[in-house]
Symmetry: C2
Subunit: 265 residues, 2 copies
């Protein structure tokens, strides 16, 4: 495995988000100069701060209201990074529930198979004047900064983007990240949690064009806001929220699919 | 240690430059998809090719004449990456003994101590309209590509640049590299091998302004050409040259410093 993780064991990573990690332990695990390493990690989207002699993710001290979240969606011409590429990316930056900035771009691609065009509506012809992957990844990296990366089923988007960055010579991402699907499972009762399904049930984004990047980002944004209204009150900081998203109990699923019921009636 | 090496053991790295590495061994050492990994490494300046079922550095099959070398020099405001930065960089691309392209830039720096200004002649004021480190590293990365990185005492420049790239969010360098000082020790008889000394003895670059990046690059270029004229004839490919530079016997040093003798006479 190349470059994908910061070189700390799981226990230390846990400590950075909770009880703090001592200088001694941090220094034991790295052989680079510490200051330099913290700079590198920051350049990869991860800010680590020192408080009373211990190190923490900066997000441990940032409230959910003050944090900068970056909600992201990509369309790709297939799911395998070694064969496929991003063909569209969109993102909004969210602070205190408001969209404060946005970024979107198609990506030049010389071949998109008909199945993908059917899902996304994007043809290779549509991308012929779009910037190439390198240009888009460099621009998106500047946009993302060290914001908390959010996507619906975040693993796919995060990994695909991080690996795409590496493909063009950038370092992999280390941004803290949060899955809007996992958060929804713990804050919103639903029979299913696919974005299109949640959109239909909760009318999140009435003008949605599902499987276009910015449309899905805006749906996810509405979903994220809805999730936040139903949060456990013990969740104060970003790290509380990440922990809640992973560890809180999932809500009970209704016995029947309300959408299916309607269509059967 | 983060990101600085490709994840292969020393034996495998040796094999990539000599007898080739089998798919099986390469796959055993990595858990990523191989095609993707080769793409990543290429994005970091290292091209690996497959021949008859084994993997090799592409430079094993490229003759010294056909290879693209990038001769590089940096000036910094100190030697420690965690405190200091590049303040000037220059490079020329050399193919078959000819300069085919060049790149140089000052780098914006808000403080340069008087000692450094004395050595380089560069003041913070001189850099006030220069692009910042991020801009320069992105541009230099595009210039460098997968050329063989050459510098006089290559370790310092290579490591400082690779770490500077990481500071601004780029992946570390994996380019093959070659030390013009080590090569000179094996091809040119001299009492000392400092660039300014060699310049004086061999009149490499008569108009040299030592400790300005492009001037030192041009001196190194002349030195490199002189070294190549004295090569062992068994050296044909780039990998032969790298091996020769590291492993051939150093030439015997004259008993007296001719420069010192002159000044004493």
């Amino acid at each position: 495995m190349i470059n994908n993780d910061i070189c700390l064991d799981a226990k230390s990573i846990h400590k950075l988000s909770s009880g703090g990690l001592s200088s001694k332990t941090l220094k034991e695990q790295i052989d680079d100069d510490l200051e330099f390493l913290l700079q590198l990690w920051h350049s990869q989207g991860l800010q680590i701060t020192k408080q009373h002699g211990s190190f923490y993710f900066a997000t441990k001290f940032i409230s959910v209201e003050d944090a900068e979240f970056c909600i992201v969606d990509i369309e790709t011409n297939g799911s395998k990074i070694e064969k496929h590429q991003i063909i569209e990316i969109a993102a909004v930056k969210v602070k205190n529930g408001e969209i404060v900035d946005s970024y979107e771009s198609l990506v030049y691609c010389n071949e998109i198979n008909p199945h993908i065009t059917e899902i996304t509506g994007i043809t290779a012809e549509d991308t012929k004047d779009a910037p190439n992957l390198k240009r888009v990844m460099y621009d998106f990296k500047v946009f993302l900064g060290d914001a908390v990366f959010i996507a619906h089923d975040v693993k796919f988007d995060y990994k695909f983007i991080s690996q795409s960055m590496q493909k063009v010579g950038l370092a992999p991402l280390l941004n803290r990240n949060l899955c809007s699907l996992s958060l929804a499972e713990r804050t919103i009762e639903s029979y299913r949690y696919a974005l299109s399904y949640l959109n239909e049930i909760f009318s999140l984004n009435p003008s949605a064009t599902h499987h276009r990047a910015m449309s899905d980002v805006l749906t996810t944004y509405e979903l994220f806001k809805l999730s936040l209204t139903n949060l456990d009150e013990t969740v104060e900081t970003v790290e509380d929220l990440i922990k809640f998203t992973k560890e809180a109990k999932r809500l009970k699923r209704p016995k029947f699919d309300p959408l299916l019921k309607e269509s059967q009636e």
